[in-house]
Amino acid sequence: MSADSNDPGTPTASAVAAAVRAGTTTAALVVEQHLAAIAARESEIHAFNLVLAEQARDHAAQIDAAVAAGNDPGPLAGVTIALKDNMCTRGVPTTCSSKILDGWKPPYNATVVDVLRDAGAIIVGKTNLDEFAMGSSTENSAFGPTRNPHDTSRVPGGSSGGSAAAVAAGFAQVALGSDTGGSIRQPAALCGVVGVKPTYGYVSRYGLIAFASSLDQIGPFTSSVEDAALMLDVIGGHDPMDSTSIPQPHPSLTEAIQHGVEGLRVGRITDLPEGADPDVQERLEAAFDALRAAGATIVDVQVPAFTFGLTAYYLIAPAEASSNLARYDGVRYGMRVEAADTNAMYGATRAAGFGDEVKRRIMLGTYALSAGYYDAYYGKALKVRRLIHDDFERAYQHADVLLTPTSPTVAFKFGDKGDNPFAMYLCDTYTIPTNLAGHPAMSVPFGTGAEGLPVGVQILAGTLQEPVMFRAAAALEREANK
């Protein structure tokens, strides 16, 4: 069963949960359907590092037993979910698609994992990613790439390629990914599903294996805007285990999407960096038209510093990553290469355990922070970040949401970016600035481009403006489905 949002047969997560709670279907049946989909195509797609068939069946049985006993199993009862393999699941291997953590089983759950389980969601597997979430194609996984379900000669995007593919292929109702520079939104666009990065601090990062601490956020992949709203309503909220978690409760997004976009001001960024393919541009224009037709007003805005996002990001993110990944030293967990002394052990372990892209970013980040270079690189990048943030804030005085392409291209072929890391970095041109600003953004599928491949359109909004962002997304989705 494919989860194409254009297919009216795809049930929503809330419909599934309602049916399970009402007893008109069973969690066991829902799980079997998804496990069958996995069995049919997983060997071709490789969305998962680990499928948790037995655990899923066990949990489904518990849910069904709860329903039979008249207990409330939660708002996501029976909803199958795939988790990006950088979220800690107690007793279940969590690898970040890296050799250095191959086989490591966390002794604790990420907060979102506990929240989902308490809500009755059923984890069907841990999905593949670019190693330590560094990449835009999932080609950097140490365990082999994931293939795009729409065309298996092409990438699903990254770094959350496995999660995006899992939803696109119907392996799970929903999935979670993490987004540091676009790692949810870009694969969502390439796989034709909805992907959301919420405001920084909206969802707890406790148990999310860190890449860049001031940029990372967890968010959902779904086949409908409604499901994404439900997912964020469940997983969003304050967590005392995460100091950067926003203290105030969030308004219901499920409620917000009931409202239309009359009078909504949709901003077109006139100084947006060029580089999007013509098919992607065409879809963006169609999206503006659709929103206009739905009652929104289109306004021109400028975000002059937008174009410097790549530079600021590729100094800040690797710098934080170089520090976050220093703990992979072979001392307490994970892979170790034995040596005569600890420094030799560190050097050999990390050389053997990390892939090329991870090493490259650790080097770049270490350099950017090092004595004599801090001001020129990391220090400067933090100032550029301020400019980007402030430019966005000014734009939001004139617009409620902004609209851009998500990815400059549709899904590209494996190996397309060759040996040039910077070519790969350009995939995130449109997604990176929102991470730097801490703002929310989401990708909504909006038709197809070259080769009939999915195109996503990105909606951006200001801090904690998820409700208005989701309203625009819902309107776009309605127009796309006409």
Partner: protein, 476 residues
């Protein structure tokens, strides 16, 4: 700045002390596992302590309270502050970075006054987390040199520390010891730490350099592994002489970290690490700034107990003894000063009480203040001699109190009135006219014979001092 006694020529010693103090909280600085010394290895651990992937720090409010107390007690300015990551690799450092404070620390610009009046500036007192412990096995003496492996216990990792950095205002080993002792007394008084050097809850590193007056400051060396107050003094003295010898022989002092070996009484170089100290400090993105409110700061300052220096001053004023006298410093150190003041408040003589308490009680006096007050009055009033008072005191101590006058009477100590005393003195003069003549002629030793006669006649009840007084009066 006075020359250091014991350094040759006009060499002067410049010392700054960095003291790390473990705060007396229930839990660690950034996570909720216990902050306890002496537990089985690796039993006080959690994902944050272990530096597990995905773990995040959350700041312990009580640690902030205690850190602010330390700053307030050291007369610091308490200010809004941030946390930074200090990045370096070491097996007892689970995240391969330490969360510390860098350019915006909690407490700055304070001072500590030594009992001898020297004021030592405190540049900063910032918060940071402790590392775990490494034990080196297979080598000699537990040192890392020659070891075959290291064993890592992370119980201590994450324990809250305050690092107190003094300005280089210390110019003698004695003052260095006094600084450490005074700091310890302050920490105990405010309840911030148990400050036990032997358990590692207070650790001292000394930065030592030498120079001659009027010349620039010398290159300093940092001395580590100083594990007792005594070692503080010994290590500084050794290091000062080592540097002087180097300079006088034409060599230069290289800036380095040295390890104090209490066994052989010397400092040794630690093998220098390549690229040793590029810590790549950057703001800790997993934490948010700390900005204690003016109300919180005021509360902390107001709640400070009287600190040792103020206690010594108070006791000195009450007893007429110098604040840096042995009696005053010991009694304050033992926490007995409130008791002495209570004796005075009850009408007793503070000066005598001070003497009694210092001599008779190791810690908390187990004699009601009123009872001791009575004894002091008997002595200063002349009813008892100093010797007799001591005997009564011993009985008060043994019985946990009592009526001093009644005890004195029971022992046969009577008030000897001056008329009777004068009578004994006159009898003694009459009995030994030779001694009297010599005494009048200026021979002090002759007094002894006369006093002895008076003592004999009075069966020891005469007060020797009063007898001497009377003899001098009669001499004219």
């Amino acid at each position: 700045m006075s020359a250091y006694d014991g350094l040759p020529g006009d060499w002067q010693l410049v010392v700054g002390l960095e003291v790390h103090v473990e705060l007396a909280t229930q839990t660690k600085l950034f996570s909720a596992s216990p902050n306890r010394f002496g537990d089985e290895p690796n039993t006080n651990i959690d994902p944050v302590t272990l530096g597990l992937p995905g773990a995040l720090p959350v700041l312990n409010e009580e640690a902030v309270e205690l850190a602010m107390r330390v700053g307030a007690a050291l007369n610091c300015t308490i200010q809004p502050c941030t946390f930074h990551r200090k990045n370096y690799f070491y097996p007892d450092m689970p995240k391969a970075f330490q969360i510390s404070q860098y350019d915006q620390p909690l407490n700055i610009d304070g001072y500590l006054d030594l009992p001898n009046g020297v004021r030592v500036g405190v540049e900063r007192a910032h918060m940071e987390e402790d590392a775990g412990k490494s034990t080196h096995i297979g080598g000699a003496g537990g040192r890392s040199h020659g070891a075959t492996a290291s064993l890592i216990d992370l119980n201590r990792a994450g324990v809250p520390l305050v690092e107190i950095v003094s300005r280089p205002d210390i110019h003698s080993a004695d003052d260095a010891r006094a600084y450490v002792n005074e700091l310890r007394a302050i920490l105990l008084a405010i309840g911030a730490s148990d400050a036990k050097m032997e358990e590692g809850s207070m650790r001292v590193d000394a930065n030592v350099s030498v120079h001659k007056p009027g010349t620039p400051l010398g290159t300093r060396c940092e001395i580590k592994n100083v594990n007792s107050v005594r070692s503080v003094g010994r290590a500084i003295e050794y290091e000062a002489r080592r540097q002087i010898d180097l300079i006088e022989s034409g060599d230069t002092v290289r800036q380095q970290t040295r390890h104090w070996d209490e066994g052989d009484g010397r400092t040794h170089t630690l093998r220098t690490k390549e690229d040793a100290d590029d810590y790549r400090y950057f703001l800790e993105p997993d934490l948010v700034p700390l900005a204690p409110s003016a109300e919180w700061i005021a509360r902390v300052v107001a709640a400070l107990p009287m600190l040792p220096a103020a206690r010594r001053t108070r006791l000195a004023e009450a007893t007429g003894q110098p604040a840096d006298s042995d009696a005053v410093t010991s009694v304050v150190e033992r926490g007995q000063d409130d008791y002495v003041l209570a004796v005075a408040a009850g009408g007793g003589n503070a000066a005598r009480a001070l003497v009694y308490v210092k001599e008779a009680f190791a810690d908390s006096p187990a004699v009601p203040a009123a009872d001791l007050a009575g004894l002091t009055l008997l002595e200063v009033g002349g009813a008892l001699t100093a010797t007799q008072a001591k005997a009564v005191l011993a009985e008060l101590v043994a019985n946990g109190g009592g009526d001093a006058a009644a005890i004195a009477a029971a022992k046969g100590f009577e008030a000897m009135d001056t008329f009777a005393l004068e009578g004994f003195v006159d009898e003694a003069i009459a009995a030994d006219p030779d001694a009297w003549a010599k005494f009048c002629a200026g021979d002090g030793k002759a007094m002894g014979a006369l006093v002895g006669l008076v003592m004999k006649a009075s069966r020891g009840k005469a007060d020797g001092k009063l007898v001497a007084q009377l003899l001098n009066q009669k001499k004219g």
